[in-house]
Amino acid sequence: MEGDIVQMGAYIGAGLACTGMGGAAVGVGHVVGNFLSGALRNPSAAGGQTATMFIGIAFSEALGIFSFLVALLLMFAV
């Protein structure tokens, strides 16, 4: 019985942790959207900044991956 409750809590927590990925999605969309609007205003400067954009994407995506990892840990490791 106690194990059931622990498992229930773990599954609920895993589901909740997945909402963090939505935040990462918003973040990545924001980065790319702003890059695109900037790039359309000044296309000549866009080429040199793609690397910066990817770094930004990587940073914001990492946090989504962290929440996914928490979900996985709760699902399979606890």
Binding site: A51, F54, I55, I57, A58, F59, A62, I65, L72
Partner: protein
């Protein structure tokens, strides 16, 4: 999940599998325990990526033709891509470290892409592997920073552009973020790889639904196959982007070590 497994097994079909099964390390020969030197599936796929590296960068360029063949131009593209990245992001002084960065990039890119083959194993989906690489980058960059700049390397934490009262707080944040670097660096790669492969496996578990119940299956099976295709396409993109991101972050850290005063 337990009941599902049970249900299917009772129906006489062993179709449902654990999405994490694909990450299991098993010995290639025999069933013995996995020791340090055991030849496992990790060994196999790492060796395959080494073979691919040799095939692309050594055999592909063996003819040294001025007008490159297709494979040679791919090799040259890889070389030029990473070299330009090192030069642009980490400045010209980082060029002596170009072979190290190229090693990391080419290993990650090949194990990511080989891992996308059906039935394949992805070494980079394991935190142990990416953590070793990230720690190597972190340690060598830190040591390099101190060797090149002495204690001036600590200037990377002391942001002279900020107003004086803020600087200690910023320094604390910078120190924390500096030590979190290897964590995020490794988990980003392993997490991305693991996530994509696990999601594909989850959809793959739904795909044979039509064999269990024709009613729902006729709807679920095509949808899940479509989803697998879409996620697979995304994974092809991610496989490259994560290798790129790992490499470019290495370059960024290297730049910090070479030029700590922003």
């Amino acid at each position: 999940m337990a009941t599902e497994t049970q249900g299917v097994e009772e129906a006489g079909m062993e179709l449902v599998f654990h999405p994490m099964d694909q990450f299991i390390i098993k010995p290639l020969f025999g069933d013995g325990p996995v020791g340090m030197f055991t030849i496992t599936n990790t060994t196999l796929w790492m060796a395959l990526s080494v073979l691919c590296v040799i095939g692309l960068l050594v055999l592909g360029t063996a003819r040294r033709s001025i007008i490159p063949s297709r494979i040679q131009s791919v090799a040259e593209l890889c070389y030029g891509f990473i070299r330009k990245m090192v030069e642009d992001v980490a400045s010209k002084e980082a060029l002596p470290y170009f072979p190290y960065i190229m090693t990391l990039f080419i290993f990650i890119v090949f194990s990511n892409f080989l891992g996308l083959l059906p039935m394949a194993f992805t070494p980079t989906s394991h935190i142990a592997v990416t953590a070793v690489m990230a720690m190597m980058v972190f340690l060598s960059v830190t040591i390099l920073g101190f060797v090149k700049n002495g204690f001036g390397f600590l200037g990377v934490f002391w942001i002279s552009a900020a107003p004086l009262p803020l600087r200690p707080i910023l320094a604390l944040i910078e120190v924390i973020s500096y030590f979190v670097r290897p964590v995020s660096h490794s988990i980003r790669l392993a997490g991305n790889m693991m996530a994509g492969h696990a999601v594909i496996k989850v959809f793959a578990a739904f795909a044979p639904m039509v064999m269990i119940s024709t009613g729902i299956g006729l709807m679920v099976t095509p949808l899940s196959i479509l989803a697998i295709t879409a996620i697979y396409a995304l994974e092809v993109l991610v496989a490259f982007i994560q290798a790129y991101v790992f490499t470019i972050l290495t370059c960024v850290y290297l730049k910090d070590a070479l030029h700590p005063h922003h």
